[in-house]
């Protein structure tokens, strides 16, 4: 607590005024006991309480700063937003219909209740696990480590997110991973660093604890207390492990091995021969490593990192999830906690961190609290009062989709994968295949061809190493625009697509336009859009190309490429 400063007079005032903040007491004291007043919920037990606390604090902060928040978004906006954020794809027309925008759903729910139910439902979908697996793979090892390493790590993450494995356990499993692929796909994290201990240590601290120590590789850190020796001491935790690859082709596998722990601390220090003052590995920030023969060095590090008492771990995770969903963290860039980059509202981050830890690092708990909050449900429309807000979430910040999201969006919207199912193809020469099998193989080759070239162009257009965008950086490269304008997003006419289905389903122009809108943007055209369409399309040829042009035009809008 001593290290926290009250950033911004707004919050200081808010606290002076004695905010109605359900768990303000919690920030100062031990977790509440059960026999306390009913008004103070037990931390980590009720995500709605966490959410309501978050909402009420920011409502006060917005008011104190004269920021009139934008209104709550409509059902269609919320649906698309939460689909893209949780599943990585926009909703299909059927999914839009099932949500019944603006009306009661099949179970008679509407408004907040309906939205909460949607979030709970999406968190159980396999696409949620896939989307977060992709996100965390990019966050941890980036985009350029090769397909096999990517696949192994995503496979690990996917299983973990599908069962909502507690986040502390996930991080421990990554940091302590040992064994080989495919049995232990989590080794892919360490393997990806090719035994560069500086990178392993630097990335592990940055990604999971928000601490950037890599500058200390070459010189003492400019803002922090870290010295080069601290960095070297931290790398020591990885000194007894080695990773690599064996075998060729289909037999190739990747492994991480640990050398046995020496008998005592003296032998360990003799073994590691760490330069500088520190003969033993060293945790960041001064906690002492005590020799423990029953744990590998990486296990010791992982336990220190993910301990509920380690504020960096819980607050980094909260901060990252806030930034992921709201476009802006308490600390920005999300992974750069340091003494000259204090959180915008430290006490809220602290309380949320403690609550998340008390909930057993349950990611669903945190995600539900954030995505059903009022903050997440604001429209992006700036009011004259909140246009300049970059701190208090008084409106939703429009975000560029990540290359992974956009690739998945294109794939889903085109319908090519979904509408052209195929059976596995026997691995025999073509003349041994039946006519039916040949036709099946042709479909497979066409679908795979489409997917592969789309993926390849996305990789080329975005660059494997493109850094994470600041929330207000929407710029893109020429290659990205060329891809969306000129790549045949709807295939070469030989496969079924969402569009060909729509055109086959109805001849009614109005219905066609509505279905195209629902497919591409997850909503119906507005009154104004109808007016524009009537004006613009009047001069278009009166045939199916007009609908194709509309479909592709919508795929080239800012709306399609963003989460808004």
């Amino acid at each position: 607590m001593g290290r926290f400063f009250l950033a911004g007079s707004g919050l200081a005032c808010a606290l002076c005024l004695g905010l109605a903040f359900a768990w303000s007491a919690q920030a100062q004291s031990r977790p509440a006991k059960k026999d306390q007043t009913a008004a103070t919920p037990e931390p980590g037990k009720d995500w709605r309480a966490l959410r309501d606390g978050l909402d009420s604090v920011f409502e006060e902060l917005q008011a104190l700063n004269g920021l009139k928040p934008s209104p709550t978004c409509d059902d269609e906006t919320f649906l698309r937003r939460v689909y893209l954020d949780l599943l990585g794809v926009p909703p299909s027309p059927a999914e839009v219909a099932a949500f019944a925008p603006g009306r009661k759903d099949a179970k008679g729910r509407r408004g907040q209740e309906k939205r909460e139910a949607l979030v709970e439902d999406l968190l159980r979908r396999p696409e949620y696990a896939r989307n977060f697996a992709e996100y965390w793979r990019v966050q941890t090892i980036g985009r350029d480590k090769g397909r096999e390493i990517n696949d192994h790590l995503e496979q690990y993450f996917q299983r973990a997110f599908a069962e909502n494995r507690p986040w502390d356990r996930v991080v421990r499993e990554l940091v302590t991973a040992a064994g080989k692929t495919p049995e232990n796909p989590e080794v892919a994290y360490l393997v990806s660093f090719e035994n560069e201990r500086a990178d392993i240590a630097g990335t592990t601290m940055r990604v999971f604890l928000g601490k950037q120590i890599q500058c200390a590789q070459c010189h003492d850190h400019p803002y922090e207390e870290w010295k080069t020796d601290d960095f070297v001491g931290l790398q020591g935790f990885f000194a007894l492990s080695a990773s690599g690859a064996k075998g060729d082709g289909a037999d190739r596998y990747w492994f991480v091995n640990d050398n046995p722990m020496p008998a005592n601390g003296h032998e360990l220090s003799a073994r590691l021969r760490l330069p500088g003052r520190h003969k033993l590995p060293k945790y960041l920030g001064g906690d002492l490593y005590k020799f423990d023969r029953d744990k590998t060095l990486r296990q010791s590090l992982a336990h220190w990192m993910t301990d509920a008492e380690n504020r960096w771990f819980r607050e980094m995770t909260v901060n990252r999830m806030m930034a992921y969903f709201l476009g802006l963290g308490f600390v920005n860039p999300v992974d750069d906690f340091n003494s000259v980059n204090e959180p915008s509202v430290p006490v809220v981050l602290e309380v949320m961190g403690k609550d998340f830890a008390a909930a057993g690092f349950d990611l669903h708990y945190l995600v539900k609290a954030i995505t059903t909050s009022k903050l997440y449900q604001r429209t992006a429309q700036p009011t004259r009062y909140n246009r300049k807000d970059r701190v208090y979430y008084s409106r939703f910040f429009v975000r560029k989709q990540s290359p992974e999201q956009l690739y998945r969006s294109v794939l889903k919207v085109s319908g090519i994968e979904e509408l052209n199912p195929y059976q596995p193809v026997r691995d025999v020469p073509d003349d041994k295949l039946s006519e039916h099998e040949k036709a099946n193989k042709l479909i497979r080759d066409r679908v795979m061809g489409y997917k592969n070239s789309l993926a390849m162009y996305f990789r080329g257009a975005y660059g494997s190493d493109e850094p994470e965008k600041a929330f207000d950086d929407y710029s893109g490269s020429i290659m990205q625009a060329l891809l969306l304008m000129n790549f045949p997003l709807l295939g070469d006419g030989n496969l079924k697509t969402s569009l060909s289905e729509i055109l086959a389903r109805t001849r009614d122009g109005k219905t066609r336009v509505e279905l195209i809108y629902q497919t591409v943007l997850g909503r119906n055209p507005t009154q104004r859009e109808w007016a524009i369409l009537r004006g613009v399309m009047a001069s278009w040829p009166d045939n199916d190309t007009a609908y194709e042009d509309l479909f592709l035009a919508l795929m080239n809008t800012t709306e399609f490429a963003t989460v808004g």
Partner: protein, 425 residues
């Protein structure tokens, strides 16, 4: 004075190319030319040899040594500039080149060393530095152009990092072949694309109103640039169809030759940054044969590029750089290959601002780079950081400017580096 020469030259070349359309967008900056301050360098061509080209099989051979390749060397008019026998054309252009034999770093891992040689910085996962081409595009590029300011011929799309996607490379994977996604899709023509984009424009108004206009503006700018490129008469600069057969013959055959011609064509119309990537230099096995083949692959086109640029009066305003991420071990493996060796390796510079016809640095007889006591025996070592500081000095980059990468300051070149003054005029 230099300016008027290159302008005249440009106009002549343009006319020779046969009624090239003189849109104001690319002539104006050439006539104006008040930017880019005092440097006379207008374009940079980086020839990047991926995999770690062996210094011992290219420019720092140790003939007669037990571990040397079974190659002869070619003595040239420049003392110390004695390339291997598989670089005969480059040997003839020796006086137009500067050889650094003493490039030296500590990075022996491909990805780390490539990062270092491409950016002038040691990799740091907290920060993404721009590569040379992106820096040049940022410092010397024009906002108002048809063609991208950084064209990369082959290789991965290394992002511009903190400089922003505007300075990302435009990557051409197969130089000379049809460029992916640059043409209208089948069944689409300009009129039809105009129709679509007109609708997009109309739709965007609503979105801008409801979501703030920043995203829409950025989106629009990106599409405008892309369409301008698609419809530009200058896009024929990416192709070789109107290149004279004599020229094609002079450069020789193969993707590298084609890429070199395209590079020259781009320089002619003022594209500031071009990178050509040649892979295959990671010669752990069968190195003598493979290096000979690689040398043959680059020798004729590279020498032709130098001659061609000179003939067209562009060599003085074009910096041509040949380098890779590290060199190779003096020891030969049982499979006639060599391992990674960042200790000493070669780089070759030529063109604008370079004091050519000289050799910088020297390695000892064995090429080990250090004596038995581990002391360096490399004369005048040049670190990659210093090489970048040298580029900065040659091109007057704004090295004082502080950029923000995340929450921390960063500069175009490492603050601790120093330009090597012997290299440039």
């Amino acid at each position: 004075m230099e300016i008027s020469v290159s302008r005249r030259d440009f106009l002549r070349t343009g006319a020779a190319a046969g009624g090239l359309m003189m849109t104001s967008s690319f002539v104006a900056p050439l006539l104006g030319q008040e930017t880019a301050a005092k440097s006379k360098i207008k374009s940079v061509i980086l020839l990047f040899m991926e995999g770690g080209p062996s210094q011992l099989e290219t420019f720092d051979c140790k003939p007669g040594k037990k571990t040397a390749a079974p190659y002869k060397v070619i003595e040239t008019e420049v003392p110390g500039f004695a390339p291997c026998e598989h670089l005969p054309n480059i040997a003839k252009t020796a006086k137009d080149l500067l050889l650094i034999k003493s490039m030296s770093s500590r990075e022996g891992n491909h990805s780390r060393a490539s990062y270092l040689l491409r950016t002038g910085y040691i990799p740091n996962p907290t920060l993404k530095h721009p590569s040379l081409g992106s820096i040049v595009a940022h410092q010397m590029g024009k906002a108002d152009t048809d063609l991208p300011n950084f064209v990369k011929l082959r290789g991965a799309p290394f992002s511009a990092g903190y400089l922003g996607v505007d300075h990302n490379p435009f990557v051409i994977n197969r130089p000379g072949a049809k460029i992916e996604n640059l043409d209208y899709a089948r069944g689409v023509d300009k009129e039809r694309m105009d129709r679509r984009m007109k609708l997009v424009k109309e739709m965007e108004k609503d979105f801008a109103k409801d979501h703030g206009d920043e995203a829409v503006e950025a989106h629009k700018a990106m599409y405008e640039k892309a369409r301008r490129l698609m419809d530009s008469p200058l896009r024929n600069k990416f192709y070789l169809d109107d290149e004279k057969p004599e020229t094609r013959k002079e450069y020789g055959e193969g993707q590298f030759a084609d890429a070199c011609i395209i590079a020259r064509r781009l320089v002619e119309v003022g594209v500031p940054a071009i990178e050509i990537v040649v892979g295959g230099w990671d010669t752990h096995d069968d190195g003598f044969k493979r290096c000979a083949d690689l040398c043959k692959q680059i020798d004729q086109p590279w020498a032709a590029l130098v001659r061609d640029l000179k003939r067209r009066g562009l060599y003085d305003s074009t910096l041509v750089i040949w380098m890779g991420e590290f060199g190779r071990t003096p020891q030969v493996t049982p499979t006639e290959g060599r391992g990674h060796w960042p200790n000493n390796f070669c780089a070759v510079l030529g063109g604008g601002g370079v004091k050519t016809a000289q050799v910088i640095g020297e390695t000892d007889e064995a090429g080990l780079g250090r004596d038995t006591g581990g002391k360096s025996t490399i004369k005048d070592p040049v670190s990659p950081m210093d090489l970048y500081a040298t580029f900065a000095a040659m091109m007057n980059w704004d090295t004082k400017k502080e950029f923000e990468a995340g929450a921390r300051p960063v500069w175009l070149v490492d603050k601790a580096s120093k330009p090597v003054e012997k290299i440039y005029k």
